[in-house]
């Protein structure tokens, strides 16, 4: 397939995706029955695939799809409900949906409300990202299961359970009020970032990752539907920065390449520009949240590696701020790596010394890799070898294994 038809296919896919999430969100917001809405929309798409090639694409595809989906949904509801009252309720709903379907391009966008329902505190944290990927983007349980490393039937059951919970626990389909918003938005953003994180690991094939693309798409969606949310903009910027380096993080023979050794000519300028613009918009009221700070750190890395600006002190200051905000050992570890660039490896080793007692670090690969790197820089070879060996043993990625084996080989010959 040539580039242009590839792009056309991608565009068509995105239009379908726009409609899918919009329709599911709109129908589910009425009934809180996400599974029922998905079934109705899936049937509408199936009908479209049968009839459009014959009858032609309707003038307003969304309205057409909504009308068909609505019919399926009310049929299904009617089969289930017997009470007169619900019959009346159904009529009212049908009228409302009919009105929406007849006003072209005017189907209210409830996708953000759907995302808030999926990332509701009553939904198990680990299921929020899979749920959003399925309901807003229409990803199959099989694809989601592969990314989240669980068997497909297990993922299928968990998704069904979560949707039942949305319906039965009375989880609202709305954008939370002001005082509640920041915390609830964090949950949505965390779910999107979790999806991105799953996509980040994928490197096979053409070098792009489907799930990372989906997560960035979701990030854009949140930004477009929720104006004046700097954290959402910060997350989008962060994902774009990270994405811009995708092709630089593997050597020609497939080994992992750390940021410091990446060929910056391989960085994607277009994505960096988008990220910088997004970060600027996010920071117009000053950096505040976690994602904005992390994006600002990435921006400083770009300035440093690309234009040789000495931004380590700024990076350290940003990590200090982030550590106060999150109290996360992962942040403490990254902060120490910046500290090493300014005050040397021993200062950094002192800074991460308390982490040695943290049980979670025993199985945290980046901790051992960072520790090994600092020990090696400090000339403490045998300790470096020990730490890098544990890092090697904790790696799940062959590219990282190759990189660490090379580092260990250098230590042995020194």
């Amino acid at each position: 397939m040539d580039v242009r038809s590839n792009e056309a296919a991608r565009a068509a896919e995105h239009i379908a995706r726009e409609s899918y999430g919009r329709l599911v969100a709109f129908l589910a917001a009425r009934t809180r029955d996400v599974a029922g809405a998905e079934d109705a929309v899936a049937e509408a798409f199936a009908t479209a695939l049968r009839t459009w090639p014959v009858d032609g694409v309707p003038g307003n595809p969304d309205a057409w799809l909504l009308t068909v989906a609505r019919r399926r949904q009310t049929d299904a509801l009617r089969r289930r409900s017997t009470r007169k009252a619900s019959e009346e309720h159904l009529m009212m709903m049908a009228d409302e949906i009919e009105a929406a379907a007849s006003a072209p391009g005017d189907i209210p966008d409830r996708r953000l409300a759907l995302m808030f329902a999926c990332a509701h505190p009553a939904i198990e944290r680990g299921m929020r990202a899979p749920l959003i990927l399925q309901t807003v983007l229409g990803l199959s349980a099989i694809d989601i299961a592969a990314a989240f490393l669980v068997p497909a039937p297990t993922m299928g059951q968990r998704l069904v359970r979560a949707k039942t919970r949305i319906r039965d626990a009375g989880i609202p389909f709305r954008i939370p009020e002001n005082d509640e918003l920041p915390e609830r938005l964090d949950a949505v953003l965390d779910a999107v970032y979790a999806a991105y994180g799953k996509g980040w690991g994928e490197v096979e094939g053409d070098g792009t990752s489907a799930l990372a693309d989906e997560a960035i798409w979701l990030g854009r969606l949140v930004v477009s539907l929720l104006p004046d949310a700097p954290e959402a903009e910060g997350l989008l910027a962060l994902m774009l920065y990270t994405e811009s380096r995708r092709s630089a993080r593997r050597s020609p023979d497939g080994a992992y390449v750390p940021l410091e050794e990446q060929d910056t000519a391989l960085w994607d300028d277009r994505l960096i520009d988008l990220a910088e613009a997004q970060l600027q918009r996010a920071s117009r009221t000053g950096p505040s949240g976690r994602y904005q700070i992390e994006a600002a750190i990435q921006s400083a890395h770009v300035a440093r590696r690309r234009y040789g600006v000495h931004t380590w002190p700024a990076i350290l200051a940003l990590y200090n701020h982030l550590q106060r905000l999150t109290r996360s050992p992962v942040v403490a570890l990254n902060r120490a790596m910046a500290l090493a660039e300014i005050e040397g490896p021993e200062a950094a080793l002192t800074a991460i010394a308390p982490l040695a007692d943290d049980r979670r670090m025993a199985e945290y690969q980046p901790y051992w890799a960072a520790r090994g790197h600092l020990m090696a820089t400090a000339g403490r070879e045998s300790e470096a070898r020990q730490a890098l060996t544990v890092a090697l043993g904790l790696s799940t990625d062959n590219a990282v294994r190759q990189y660490l084996q090379r580092r260990l080989a250098v230590l042995h010959t020194d």
Partner: protein, 134 residues
């Protein structure tokens, strides 16, 4: 909770790996054991010798029935005789080539460790919970 990580691979392909690559594979396996020990999850491990030197004992010629004897005990085969064969299953593509016994909280943790096992690169890993109390 103890789990067996049973590592399967094509032993013919394994035997054909050049020495320098084998050395790297062994290094990553030793590093894996180091990481297991550091996390307090290691119980034991061993590679297994090639299947052509293995023997399988099997009851043959009799009738396979599940029945209860008058004394209340159960038996499943009757009337056969025990024969010894070479190897385990000659027709399978992948053979059990080694195992790790680990001690972790649950299946999720066991799977996380199985993911880190370098042997996952060259064949499937069967993860089985061991029944406690034996």
């Amino acid at each position: 909770m103890k789990f067996m990580l049973m590592l399967y691979a094509d032993e013919k392909a394994g035997a054909a790996i050049p020495p320098d690559q084998m050395e790297k594979a062994m290094q990553s396996l030793f590093a894996y054991q180091d990481a297991l020990e550091k996390a307090g999850a290691f119980v034991m491990t061993s590679p297994l010798a090639r299947t052509r030197d293995a023997r399988t004992l099997r009851m043959e010629g009799g009738e396979v029935v599940a029945a209860q004897r008058p004394d209340g005990s159960y038996f499943v085969a009757e009337g056969g005789e025990l024969r010894v064969h070479e190897g385990p299953y000659a027709e399978t593509r992948e053979q059990l080539g080694g195992f790790y016994m680990i001690d972790v909280a649950d299946m999720d943790e066991a799977l996380a460790w199985a993911r880190r096992c370098p042997a996952a690169q060259w064949g499937p890993i069967e993860v089985r919970a061991m029944i406690s109390g034996y």
